[in-house]
Subunit: 104 residues, 2 copies
């Protein structure tokens, strides 16, 4: 399974997408990450493992708490995949658009 496929598979689940969106704003512990969801901490841990394996999230355990934050590497992979998946025609349009608009 390629990196891009791992990333897309990971983001295929609604809970994991929500976790990623919440981590966009701020890093947090596993418990804090789990708080909004009606599921066990174990389940959240499993989602987290998938996100980590995909390179979307990185975690570090200090003492008894594991801090979770976004890992930009995963998003870079996704970006590259998306760009490659466009038709030749569309890529030409994009290049034109970038020139007209300038970098965002």
């Amino acid at each position: 399974m390629s990196d891009a496929h791992k990333v897309l598979q990971a983001l295929g689940d609604a809970t994991r997408r929500d976790m990623v969106e919440r981590l966009t704003d701020t890093a947090m512990s596993v418990s804090a990450l789990a708080a909004p969801y009606d599921m066990t901490l174990t389940a959240v841990g499993q989602h987290l493992a998938i996100l980590e394996a995909a390179g979307l999230v990185k975690t570090e355990k200090i003492g008894r708490v594991r801090s979770c934050s976004l890992n930009p590497a995963g998003f870079a992979v996704l970006d590259i995949w998306t760009k490659a998946r466009r038709s030749t025609w569309e890529r030409r349009l994009d290049a034109l658009g970038d020139i007209l608009d300038g970098p965002s």
Copy 2:
């Protein structure tokens, strides 16, 4: 379910990702699209419906054959989502990168 979520859900499946990759190169009929997979035409049709609902593929039926091609709109949605999901710091780096590299 938002557009970005539909797109990511759709691309969460390996068969659908492969279909998208094959449609990158050329448009084709449902049968041609189905050929490499060890599954029924019905199953392929179901995958196709999901890709179409996500805005990743567009299809047109002429006579008895349905032609399938990539729909760049879905990829644009994915691109926007990806960009938004990066940390503030990373987004600054991206902007700088774009300026240095110029449009791809």
